[in-house]
Amino acid sequence: MSKPRVATTSLCGCFGCHMSLLDIDERILQLAEIVEFDKSPINDHKDFTQRCTVGLIEGGCANAENVHVLRRFREMCDVLVSVGDCATTGGIPALRNLVPLEECLEEAYVKGPSVHNPSRRIPDDPEIPLLLDKVYPAHEVVKIDYHLPGCPPSADTLWEALNALLSGKPLALPYALLKYD
């Protein structure tokens, strides 16, 4: 039987959840034995090579590209997991949801006290993905099967969750791995 394939991505996140995944330390060798990584920043594969068992989503959707990537993950993965608070709720980036988009851009590129931008031009190259009106949690854009809370979820949480998912066993995370206060 071939190894289950895992894909990961960071949408509008800080890569902290991916760093947390790397925090499983030497267990990464074990992980490499039981799974094959497909599209992921960890191996720098830019696109899917085939259908995957599990997709891990870090970050919510802030721009059109995030949406395309997330939809692609939904198409290519059997199980999608929102990893961390940004994917689950929008997180810190969603703070901009309280401010109209135009004001956000003005503040970032024109009016902000530390901005030096003599042309007063807001970046508008067609290559730059269009921003969404607000930051959406992943499950508002596609169907998400599981949510792993935490900022970031700890390495142990990720490890336990992945193991449960790949072995088909029920996931019973001890309280200490889900307590964030």
């Binding site: 059109a64 939809r71 988009l101 508008d124 969404l132 959406y136 169907k143």
Partner: protein
Amino acid sequence: MTLSVDGVVREACQSVGHDPTRLMDVARAVQARLGGVPPAAIDAIHHQLHVSRAQVLGLVSFYAFLDETPGARHVIRVCDDVVDRLAGHARVARAFSDELGIPIGGTTADGTFALQRTACIGMSDQAPAALVGDVVVTDLSAERARQVVAELRAHGDPQRLVKRLGDGNNAHPLVRAMVRNNIRQAGPIVMSEHKRGEALRKCAALSPVEVIRAVKTARLRGRGGAGFPTGIKWEMARAAPGARKFVLCNADEGEPGTFKDRVLLTEWPDRVFAGMTIAGYAIGAREGVLYLRAEYAYLRAFLEDVLARRRSDGLLGRDVPRRGFEFDIRIQMGAGAYVCGEESALIESCEGRRGDPRNRPPFPAQRGYLGCPTVVNNVETLCCVTRILEAGSAAFSVLGSRQSAGTKLLSISGDVSRPGVYEVPFGTPIQDVLALCGGRDATALQVGGPSGRMVGPADFERTICYDDVATGGALVVFDSSRNPLEIAHAYMEFFEDESCGYCTPCRVGNVLLRRGLEKVLAGRGEPADLEQFEQIARTMKASSRCGLGQTSFNPVLTSLQSFRYQYETLVAEAPHGRRRGFDLDSATAEATRLRAVAAEGGRS
């Protein structure tokens, strides 16, 4: 005339003896004189009443009828309850708006008029309605709205808007309102003939314990909706230690679609006050407070007069109801907050604070108003008490059903030919009630207001009583042209507005449900959304602090139960695991617009 803020505040503070728990009265008095409670007044109140600035500001910002910025000379509050919407509220609001040249929420440049929306003002049987200051204007049309503005511009006296006086005491010199009672069916208990003083005479012949026993024998349960046995509540308060106890009458009927207490206060105020006096005697209280909702301010002078006459006739004051006892009543005005109908929020409000509900225990009967044992009873409950003393427990308990003795007042409005107040025995089937009020084409029925339940024809055989379909009295009828989901949506907007915001399940849950409904109504819902509604409702019920959050999901939950097929025709699974609620084009529309503007070299 210029008014000195300090002078106004000083006068207001003196009028309540500098009692900090009377902050509400002070704020209301200042608002009445200055048109608002501006920062300078908040400062002055803080100094003179020795309460923190935060408490004053907290109070002023909490209540709909108090403003931080001095408002206009005439504040027009258009009622936008669901029943008013059915009756043409939109046309009326637009007419006011056009005529004044301001949107809802606006103030005219000259500061003469402010136009606001307000939740149900207790006039659903004569909707659309509005308040002009304290004056109630009913049966509005677009044309009438324009006349109202024209007349106010011409003479500036809201009272002169009242052309034809209503029936009964609505025409009393101290009321002079155009409000109609609309008593469609009087009954043997609450809306029966009242012999003033008789209940108190009979009460005086009994000991307090015997009075409680009479109420228990009659099997009287609270008429506000929850149905707690009144006698047990009284016993608890009587048994609670404390030299000072209180009787509070909850006349804050804010449940949209309810107006029965308005009629009781207009036509049977003596019965209400007698009930309070009896309650005071039973629990050992010497003081009573009638908490009157701000929307019924037009009844205040009349009620004060009734109290004055009771004092001079020996029905209030010393040696009432018999030698060695005394009882008196004051009226506490509210300031426009639905949540204050919840008894612990009502107590907070009486003490001059925001209407934030309290944690229980302790229950009000143990520690209520000013920390003293307190019973809070509904207006109708107290009328029942008076009747029980007048006619005896048996005459009361013989009516109704097994668990629900006596009669119930129903405030019926919506798509019926005879809206108004009906007194029916408990156990009356819903379909009989519909036949009475002329709701022939009824397809949905909101029983007990938005916090109650929405029922469909399948439930019309069920009966009005505590064990079947319980209700505080509101019954709003919708005919086949109405969409239950839209009704539920309107009620969720109401709850979102009225949640005090203290606890998260209620503050957030109401918003999630309202948005979820919008999604479903827009045809973007999925079956999972319906499951989520139920899940949110469960969370709110289990973890909200007071009755508001524990019931405010009911418009969604009960319409989902009664009209599930209507929801199901609107939801569908999305292809490719996508969410129907998310549309990339509309989510990027603003960014696209901004780029187009930038490309033209201009700024938007």
